[in-house]
Amino acid sequence: MNAVSAWLTPQTAATAAFVMVIGLTIVGALIAVGARNIFHNVLGLCVSLFGVSGIFLFLNSPFVALMEILIYIGAICVAICFAIMLSEPMYLPPPPRNKVKVLGAAIGAGGIFVFLGLLLKKTQWTAAPERSTDWSVTTIGHYFLTNYALIFELVSLLLLVAMLGAIVTARGGRSKP
């Protein structure tokens, strides 16, 4: 009896894992966009985010991977589900697709895709062995408060705006019908 390690080399295992997480991400994203039932859309989003967290794991960053699950699936997707259940009833037939909206979404998403693709091509990537390998949480924290302080502050500004928006939106409600 041969050891599994004889035919399952680290390279094949890594490739198989990579294909799996990418497949999960893409299939989830397709469900999230294509399904006609809004609850299925959210579950597709969850599957896709699972794939993304798998990519982080693949890049040897379990901390970010678990944070992805904790925040994006555990908090954001659940909050979206909650909002869906409070919105319009499910037994009504879904309204037909709005052509203009679909086109706008496609152009927006395509634009971002092209932009990111060009950015990826333009960046000078350093090979893994030459790069610093210290990506512990401590290092990330130091970077946030030194080199990337502006981004860190902008994120908190974004959160503040989101909170203010939520308060403004909620203030108008609570009136007797």
Partner: protein, 324 residues
């Protein structure tokens, strides 16, 4: 054993053996806990509880489990079938995964990960998602209400839970569960952080949907909440997940506050299990002592009392650590 190790490599063999042990532990634990709950409930209400099958009804739950396995798996006509079938599986998988990092003793651990506590917290949030899937796909108003309540409750109680756990992590400086236990070889954290312990137990009770916070499945209002439409083994899987979740919550409380496997004379595993079952007894004691809270009281309690207290606790911890 040698053959298995040769076939999979030592790490793989550890995984396989660990997984088999975990599945055995999960089933035995659930059978035992259901019997224990019935006995605890009975004695608190001055009645004997199950007595017929086995000594003091010890194998009553085995009989119940066999009965459940023999029941038909009914799929109601108007349910969303794929999600209805997936929900019991999705609730059970993350629960199994959490056992990967629980340290039963300094050596009895399947994989000692650097992000151990984070893994348990991340995967425990998935149970909310499966409750939502079950409740929504059942196409039943009671099930949907149970699911909605469960989500509101879990979102509210997750924040103080995470902040409380953060104050412990701040003290140890590591997410690794074995490091957290090792830091308590002298003084248990329950002595240093009594407020954090109370907050953690309260939030853990709410997160596992136990009384007095069991409004997602409040029998008198919602039939059975999110699992109203489930029968047979699917229903049993929800129960299995609930009792295993209780075990995990108690195990995390033991690791974070009660010194894990530390204790005199007895081996570490025995101490660990003793502490876990003591915490579980505490949770059962709550259930049969406190009446169920009202929904608005529950949410107000989380947002206006628990969250500020958790943040104050975190601030004090940080201040003390800085000044020391």
């Amino acid at each position: 054993m040698e053959l298995v190790a040769q076939f999979l490599g030592s790490e793989g063999a550890r995984m396989v053996v660990g997984l088999i042990a975990v599945i055995a532990l999960v089933s035995v634990n659930a059978l035992f806990l259901i019997w224990m709950e019935r006995k605890v409930a009975a004695h608190m209400q001055l009645r004997p509880g199950p007595m017929e099958v086995g000594p003091h009804g010890a194998i009553q739950t085995v009989a119940d489990a066999i009965k459940l396995m023999g029941k038909e798996l009914i799929t109601p006509a108007e349910v969303d079938k794929p999600i209805f079938w997936l929900a019991p599986i999705v609730i059970f998988l993350p629960v199994l995964l959490s056992f990967l990092v629980i340290p039963f003793s300094s050596t009895w651990i399947i994989k000692d990960m650097n992000v151990g506590i984070l893994l348990i917290l991340a995967f425990s949030t998935l149970s909310v998602l499966s409750i939502l899937m079950a409740g929504w796909s059942s196409n039943n108003k009671y099930a949907v209400f149970g699911a909605i309540r469960s989500v509101a409750q879990n979102i509210a109680y997750e924040i103080p839970l995470l902040v409380t756990v953060m104050s412990i992590i701040l003290m140890v400086g590591s997410f690794k569960l074995t490091d957290i236990v090792a830091a308590q070889s002298g003084l248990w954290f329950v002595v240093v952080q009594p407020l954090a312990f109370i907050l953690f137990i309260t939030c853990a009770t709410a997160e596992t949907n136990r009384a007095p916070f069991d409004i997602p499945e409040a029998e008198s209002e919602l039939v059975a909440g999110f699992h109203t439409e489930y029968t047979g083994m699917r229903f049993a899987l929800f129960f299995l997940a609930e009792y295993t979740n209780m075990f995990i919550a108690a195990a995390v409380a033991t690791v974070l506050f009660l010194g894990g496997w530390h204790g005199p004379f007895l081996p570490g595993v025995v101490w660990f299990l003793l502490k876990v079952y003591a915490v579980i007894f505490l949770l059962m004691w709550f259930r049969w002592t406190f009446p169920r809270t009202r929904f608005d009281q529950l949410i107000t309690f989380a947002w206006k009392i628990l969250i500020p207290l958790a943040f104050v606790n975190l601030l004090i911890t940080a201040l003390v650590l800085k000044l020391r």
